[in-house]
Symmetry: C2
Subunit: 261 residues, 2 copies
DNA sequence: CGTTACCTTGAATCTCCTCAATACACGTGG
DNA sequence: CCACGTGTATTGAGGAGATTCAAGGTAACG
């Protein structure tokens, strides 16, 4: 359950080890379209709020359901998965986290994670101290607003997933998830990608969309036969996005792309 | 789609019409366990933030997907439903709202609702002006924190529903929803209720848990035959909560019951 | 007293699940 | 270098669970 724990936190700002650490001022996340421009003051606050970076290996458990953590993370690089194991042993995958996503807000707010988070690839995380989140609320109301925005964004994504899982047949569900992931990738990239390159297995997809592994496989093969996608280990190429969107009834949740931390 | 629009906003604080309006100081919601105690200052802020009360009739649309609203509401009394109609005409019910719940945060944050909200009963709502939400973030950081808390709470509820819909068979899903609703009712009541008295139809339940109406009915009848519940129009009596919890793998999400607005 | 909304039940059908077996890529140790 | 184990993908067969269609039934309302 708990994975090989070789995680490493690089602490201290300009110290000897901090050599490779990226200063917030030139954080690559700030280039993402979805992030708003920060004021100098905000940037200074965040620089100070950040206590270091952490690298974790693929397969590591970042948060464990029912436990908490003194940290709050932002994903600088890599993929993670939020999920929960139910009593019958089934796993529900809630969402995948990616560059720019925030991890562990629940732990900060509820004092306890209600789901687990696991790294799918090696990851680089930006680390914030959970107990100082109050300072953020007291001193930086714009950032506080952004926190709420992020939480509401996750909520709306889960609602979207719920609608797909609850109301669509297998073909539509999988088409939906592929389009969703593609849009996620674009959010973190140049915006015109047609390839999802991530260590997501068919089992992950099935667990996210409430389908058995076997049925997931058959459905993916059908999408392939229809010429919508190409699937190779770790690489999913979208060939006919329009068709996938039709199949999924996907409705791009156009949130005014309010920025963030 | 848009319902009979006979909603009525009672404006102005102590004015002639404001006679029945409840002052925040004695707001009954404050008695709820889940609400923390406010400081005088917070209470004053909220009193001032509140611009009135609104009553809506059963069946009214409170928010319409894709649109926004200048208001943000708190439910003083009655039941509502958050849902979305998909392209194929299916309806996904996301959640039911109840005493103490906040409505319309998405509209305030994203400038556009991503789902609709409809009143199931006649309702009484407390009205706040959306554009002044900034003041809350700037002046009352504790309340700002509470906003994030509420958003994260909704997120965790949706995750729970998603796990039920994605991973459980019909019997477990419906058992889950019943237990969930019962706990909601207790949160707004004395804490030992065993009856859910709400105008929730079997169709609502089916639409919430991704089941057809027919199958929902058959499953409810099965739960009745098992002696777990009694179902009469508008009144659902829980006879064997323990059994329902087993069936549903329900895991009471014990959030440290942080208070709120 | 007819209309409407909701609940109920049976039958036929189909989607999706489980079981079972195979195939392929990869890394490890002999 | 090959044998083996592990993780992932693939495919077929049989059956359980859920859907749709169809036809009532019952309570509330004007």
């Amino acid at each position: 359950m708990v994975a090989r724990s070789r995680n490493r936190i690089v602490k201290s700002r300009p110290g000897p080890q901090g050599a490779q650490e990226i200063p917030c001022e030139s954080c690559p996340l700030r280039q993402m379209e979805t992030f708003r421009k920060f004021t100098k003051e905000e940037l200074a606050f965040i620089s100070n709020f950040k206590i270091g970076e952490m690298t974790v290996q693929a397969g590591s458990t970042i948060f464990l359901e029912g436990h908490n953590s003194p940290h709050l993370f932002t994903v600088l690089d890599g993929w993670a998965m939020r999920f929960k194991i139910l009593q019958d042993g089934n796993r529900q995958v809630f969402n995948f986290a990616f560059r720019g996503d925030l991890l562990g807000l629940q732990s900060a707010l509820f004092d306890k994670m209600l789901h687990s988070v696991e790294a799918l690839t090696d990851m680089r995380l930006c680390v914030f101290p959970r107990e100082r989140i109050w300072e953020l609320y007291h001193e930086q109301s714009n950032l506080a607003y952004d926190m709420t925005w992020m939480a509401a964004r996750e909520e709306s994504i889960l609602a979207q997933h719920l609608a797909a899982v609850g109301q669509m047949p297998a073909l539509g569900r999988i088409a939906y998830l592929i389009v969703f992931l593609l849009h996620q990738v674009r959010r973190g990239g140049r915006g015109n990608e047609s390839v999802i390159s991530a260590p997501i297995t068919q089992e992950h997809i099935g667990d996210a969309m409430g389908l058995s592994l076997v049925h997931t496989n058959k459905t993916i093969r059908k999408l392939q036969a229809m010429g919508c996608i190409e699937w190779q280990r770790q690489v999913l190429r979208v060939l006919d996005e329009k068709r996938l969107i039709e199949l999924s009834g996907y409705d791009r949740q156009e949130r005014e792309e309010r920025p963030f931390l």
